[in-house]
Amino acid sequence: MSSSILWVRVHPVTASRKNGIKALVNFSKVWKWLTSGFLLHYDKIGAADRYPYLRRNIILLMLAVTLIPLTFMAVINSHQYHSSLKTEIINPLYTLANKTKHSFELYLEERLSTVRFIASAYAYTELSDEKTLNRILRVMKTELGGFVDLGLIDNQAHMVSYAGPYELLGKTYSQQSWYHEARLRGTYISDVFMGYRKFPHIAIAVQQFTKEDLGWILRATIDTGKFESLIAAMGLDPASDAFLVNREGIFQTSSKYYGKVLERCPFSAPLGNYGTSVVEATDPQGREMLLVFARLAQHDFSLVIVTPRSVILRSWYTLKSEMFFIYFISVGLIVLVTLKLSGNLVRNIREADEKRELAFRELEHTQKLSSIGRLAAGVAHEINNPLAIINEEAGLMKDLVGYGADFPQKEKFLGLINTILKSVDRCKTITHRLLGFARRMEVQFEPLCLNDVIQEVLGFLEKEALYKNVQIRLALAEDLPQISSDRGQLHQVFLNVLTNAIASIEASGFIVITTWQEDDQTQGVSIQDNGCGMSEETLRHIFEPFFTTKHGYGTGLGLPITYGIISKLGGDIKVRSKPGEGTTFTIFVPTKPKTG
């Protein structure tokens, strides 16, 4: 496995065509490295590591391709939803806060304008007259509403004229900071204070100058009942709360849940903020709240709307938990399926590879056999001639000695020659077998006797049977008529079956071979052994290619080939077996080759 990293120089794609092509080529090199070297090609790896490696790669690839987009989407979705939800809920609140803030500003502005108007429209001397002041106050109360008193303060900070319910005439304000502020700024709006009959009030003061350039102040007190109705007009849901606070965080109107007028508000306004903003905070009861702060323009008041976050974000929480649920279930499913699928896939690939290997080996084996067969044929044929020579010459020697005169060693001589001739006979048998083996490759029909064929095959196997102490009992039909069939193929059939029979016998046993004329068209051969037998499950599979119970060295093709041959010859093959008792193969061979 190549672990070297391919460094790719990426050329900037300029207008020049050459550079463009170069960049393309480099990219394709990278691509090739990615797909072929790293992830999917496993031919270059040793067999043992190949399959886990392949499986791991498939798993990684599949997980990456499925999980990355899924996670991406989940993240984007939740983000989108969250933000859109927030804006959907928050925007109306925002708008509401702004609108209400404007209403407050308008209200204060109206009152301030009124006082300013009065201060401008009337001269100092006119306002010093209490009757005038009272009349003005009456008109203000009727026409505008909300005014409680009206007072005139001279440049020495003395209240010189007063209309209203309090005893303020003659009072001095030089110690009051609001007075100085009013003198400095020209107008002044106070915070809420507890006033007449313990209702909350605010004071508005406006400065004017006499013709002599002496500053005087007109001061009016407003009751804040209107504030409450402005807030009520917001129409918030019962769980929400809205109120006015000043710069120090003191309630200017009563809060539904958090305190009365002039108490401290538990929420602190966002610092340095001059517009409308939204913050999240925890209230004294520990609930998560959403706060909208709207700063009034002309005074350090802020309108505050408090809404429980849970109300807003309820649907978000539901979605979030649903999404998590679905996401994790999906991830779990994907991982499960990936692991299982890749396991199956790789196992199938491995099995297919192994089968292919086996098939190749078998093919190789067959080809080797056929070349060996040809070789054998060649050798056998070559040997026949010298063998014939030995045979004739030894025969001649025998004739000459036999017909000739006696001499002292005559008997011995004849004996020796006979031994030679017997050995030639053995050689003849051996070459005959060799050629029989070779002839397996060609299909040809000839008249033959099944019994002979069986005997020939037994000749091949007698050594092995002897070694394994297997007794071969023959029950061959006498005078079994000749049939027309392929000797070589029949050799192979009986060889396969008998080899299996011998192999199934562990220590010692017997094999019974029976032949008979089944009917006009067919002869039967049965080969019965008392070996280990086969289970029903095994019986189902024995004619399948590559099925073998000889783990490791069987090719699993012997019986399929046998079956194929018998089918080709037009015969039939049946098996009966009992585990522990033995197996019987029954083969039916047609007397004449079936045409078509």
């Binding site: 044929a377 056998a380 020579i389 004739e392 025969g395 030639v424 003849k428 070459t431």
Partner: protein
Amino acid sequence: MLLVDDEEDFVSALAERLHLRGIDARIATDGEAALEAMEIFLPQVVVLDVMMPGLGGAEVLKRIKAMHPELPVILLTGHGSIREGAAGLTHGADGYLVKPIDIEELIDKMRGALSGD
């Protein structure tokens, strides 16, 4: 009879054995020589090896049968050429033997062929 085989040792030993049994056998070591010899003297039986260099056994058989259709020809074949032997039968040979041969079998076949079947 005429024995035709390219292995001289074999064919001369066989001829001698036949002589010892009272059968007159001449030999030829290739097809050409055999055909020439047959122009000089006509044998009663020809024993012919199918695998011979030069004019092969099959060709010789054909020519003999062309010239003397009544003349019995027995083919000798090594195991590798049984097919040739069997083919030879269809071309008119009167029998075949597989090498190495049993001389008694040869004599039997010869007598059989001569007794005219």
